[in-house]
Amino acid sequence: QSSPSSPEPASLPAEDISTSSNGPKPAEIILDDDREDLFAEATEEVSLDSPERDPILSSDPSPAITPVTPTTLVTPRMESKSVTAPVIFDRSREEIEEEANGDLFDIEINVSDPEKVGDGMNAYMAYRVTTKTSLSMFHQNEFSVKRRFSDFLGLHSKLATKYLHVGYIVPPAPEKSIVGMTKVKVGKEDSSSTEFVEKRRAALERYLQRTVKHPILLQDPDLRQFLESSEVFKIFFFNPAARAGILRMVNKAADAVNKMTIKMNESDAWFEEKQQQFENLDQQLRKLHASVEALVCHRKELSANTAAFAKSAAMLGNSEDHTALSRALSQLAEVEEKIDQLHQEQAFADFYVFSELLGDYIRLIAAVKGVLDHRMKCWQKWQDAQVTLQKKREAEAKLQLANKPDKLQQAKDEIKEWETKVQQGERDFEQISKTIRKEVSRFEKERVKDFKTVIIKYLESLVQTQQQLIKYWEAFLPEAKAIA
């Protein structure tokens, strides 16, 4: 039941927010990790078009988080940033891995209670995100916050910006749906909009559950703030343009790579193999997904037709003047009504257990492919640096001969600069390769577990349906036999 509360504005309040109003909690988080305003730069300065410009990431240790007002966020900051991987990785990778074997999985996320806020086209759905955990990084064992869909998208944007380009497989957020959401906004309280909201709620839940299962992402302060901060989620101001840019970066890495026609000397057969494997898997899953969607559709049709038949059989029973036959027909109508219920429940399982899993993995594999493509870009960057270094060396040699001492010094400086860049490029490439190997291995382990669990769950739903059918028909049989 959606109760329209006083509509919260879709955009953030333009009030001045001072540090203190954030409360002590965010500050405490800051003391542990110092990456708070990575976001601020990231949203503004993500390059939207040129593949050459790297995703901007500030690694400068920043002071306590400065809550920003919308106006500040919108004006782009012009400072140039150097690009390195976030410090967090260097710092405690081993610590993180250790924790990964510990009580890492003792965290449970639920998304519930969708509530419509506001009216008309400015309305939105707020979801309750409840976390239950014994992990020490959180302040409480059980807590919940209210978030809207764009907050989830904002979270994903931040995580994608930070982690994708260094090789981490960041779970993709559920997809937007203009049609679905419009119906909800416009206030259609029919079954299709309830279904849409439920579908979205379940997808958001799965999204968060996958994200927290990732040992690195779980450490991310933005994620923690998303789960914990009871404030209206102002930090995650959702800038659609920036989001679009990030998505383009995330999803179209492959295109950029193709445009550059990277002929990568793949010294590592493992990566080539994986590329192929995920390509095949993607194709197969899409086929299967399409077929399962057809199944869901037809099962819903069957349910509707069964219900119509039940009603008709009941009327036939009423008009039948032979008493025993009349009763049997009424019983048949009742059985069919119950069977209709079964079909509906089964269609529900078909969709939420089987179909949605396949959909999720199709999107996840896209993220894997994206990460593999980032590695190619990284390699390309390294190669480009080597080419430039070579050019600089040749230039210096020429200057040596020409005997221009002042220009010579500049040339030597440039050589030093590019030598560093080449080294960095090699390091980055090795790092991302190493990370991806680990990530893919982790991902595959998860995937195997996930599929096996889901398959069993789905089969159990099918068994349940058949067992019920047996019950119903066993009850009906004596009625049919009683017709004299």
Partner: protein, 411 residues
């Protein structure tokens, strides 16, 4: 495409079973009729009708002729247009063999697009061919039960046209009547609404006998309801079929995943593929059993209740004609115009009406018989339906549980 156009014959040795909808037909050795063979050609079906009889009406104890659907319709119409049989429920004519939809599907598959794998194609083809065969078997059964009901009826079995139908080994050349038949059908539909007005009591005419009056009100409603239920049952059956068909691409996709996947998931997917393949067959059987035991049952009683309605209509028609003839005669006498023709007409109507009154007993028996046939047919088919649904559900459940055991052990 070629294959579809080949004549489809009854599988050798398989006799069509007596249709269970008409209730138990007495096994009467004095006249046994069956359709022993049938051939489906491009646009027609040829039925081989075999008769074994000890009755004197036939020249030989064993007869065999080839008939087409139109011949059956002709035979039915001679009965329903015969005043002698006005008090009898004429067994409904069998429906026209309709392979159109099935043929279209097979055709579409043949021309089809290449999105199907070879495996999928083979399976779908198998399904469609099975469907075609099922329709074929059904049409044979419907034609057969029509003849068998005639043979079982004490009065109708003696009909001359019936004997001609069974024995005359030339073409009955009723096909020339096709056009007339079509027109006749057209007129029949126009007349039908007038019939409906009579029988629904809109005209104000009521049956003289309480029993028939009760039957009239009952049959009116019953026929409407059973027609609706039949329609809805058909849709359920078709949905089950769609479901079974959906399992085909799923099983195929699971199979290819099984061969390509990482080692830890291979077994799961292969087992799932196997499972869905078998579930498809089970689901298909659920669909066809619903078709045979429920849809067909309801269809049959839709037609049979229409035949019963026709009987009551004929009674009311005769009554109406008689009353109108009386009025016309009175009018003619008053005006002293065309009295003779009015008298003749009135005589005719009177005779017809009297005949109906004397055959009232027959009609009463017919309608009572209709009821008992209906009860026993429903009982038999509903019991069989429940038993079959149980059988399939148990098989599915067992299959699923076994698969689960294997998969859980693999974790």
């Amino acid at each position: 495409r070629r294959r579809m156009e080949e004549p489809l014959e009854m599988p050798p040795g398989e006799e069509s079973k007596p249709c269970s909808f008409s209730g138990e037909l007495p096994a009467d050795p004095s006249l046994q009729v069956e359709i022993s063979d049938a051939v489906s050609e491009r646009d027609k079906v040829k039925f081989t009708v075999q008769t074994k009889s000890s009755l004197p009406h036939f020249t030989r104890p064993a007869l065999s002729v080839v008939r087409q659907h139109e011949d059956f319709v002709w035979l039915h119409d001679t009965f329903s247009e015969n005043d002698e049989y006005a008090g009898i429920i004429i067994p409904p004519a069998p429906p026209r063999p309709d392979f159109e939809a099935s043929r279209e599907k097979l055709q579409r598959l043949g021309e089809g697009n290449s999105t199907l794998t070879r495996e999928e194609f083979a399976k779908i083809k198998q399904e469609l061919e099975g469907e075609y065969l099922a329709i074929f078997k059904k049409t044979v059964a419907m034609h057969e039960v029509f003849l068998q009901r005639l043979a079982a009826h004490p009065i109708l079995r003696r009909d001359h046209n019936f004997h001609v139908f069974l024995e005359y080994n030339q073409d009955l050349s009723v096909r020339g009547k096709n056009r007339k038949e079509l027109l006749g059908g057209f007129f029949r539909n126009i007349v039908k609404s007038a019939d409906e007005a009579l029988i629904t009591g809109v005209s104000g005419l009521k049956e003289v006998d309480e029993f028939f009056e009760h039957e009239r009100t009952f049959l009116l409603e019953y026929h409407t309801r059973v027609r609706d239920t039949c329609l809805k049952a058909d849709r359920v059956m078709r949905s089950h079929k769609s479901l079974a068909e959906d399992y085909i691409p799923i099983a195929v996709a699971l199979g290819s995943l099984g061969t390509q996947e990482v080692q830890q998931l291979q077994m799961s997917f292969l087992k799932l593929a196997e499972l869905f393949e078998r579930l498809r067959k089970l689901e298909g059987r659920v669909a066809s059993d619903e078709d045979l035991k429920l849809s067909d049952l309801l269809k049959y009683y839709m037609r049979d209740s229409q035949a019963a309605k026709d009987l009551l209509y004929r009674r009311l028609r005769a009554l109406a004609d008689y009353e109108n003839a009386n009025k016309a005669l009175d009018k003619a006498r008053m005006k002293n115009k065309e009295v003779k023709s009015a008298e003749t007409h009135q005589q005719l109507c009177c005779q017809r009406f009297e005949r109906l009154s004397t055959s009232a007993k027959q009609a009463w028996a017919e309608l009572t018989d209709f009821k008992s046939r209906r009860i026993s047919a429903f009982r038999k088919n509903l019991v069989e339906l429940a038993e079959l649904e149980l059988k399939h559900a148990k098989a599915s459940s067992l299959l699923l549980r076994n698969t689960l055991i294997v998969l859980k052990g693999d974790v």
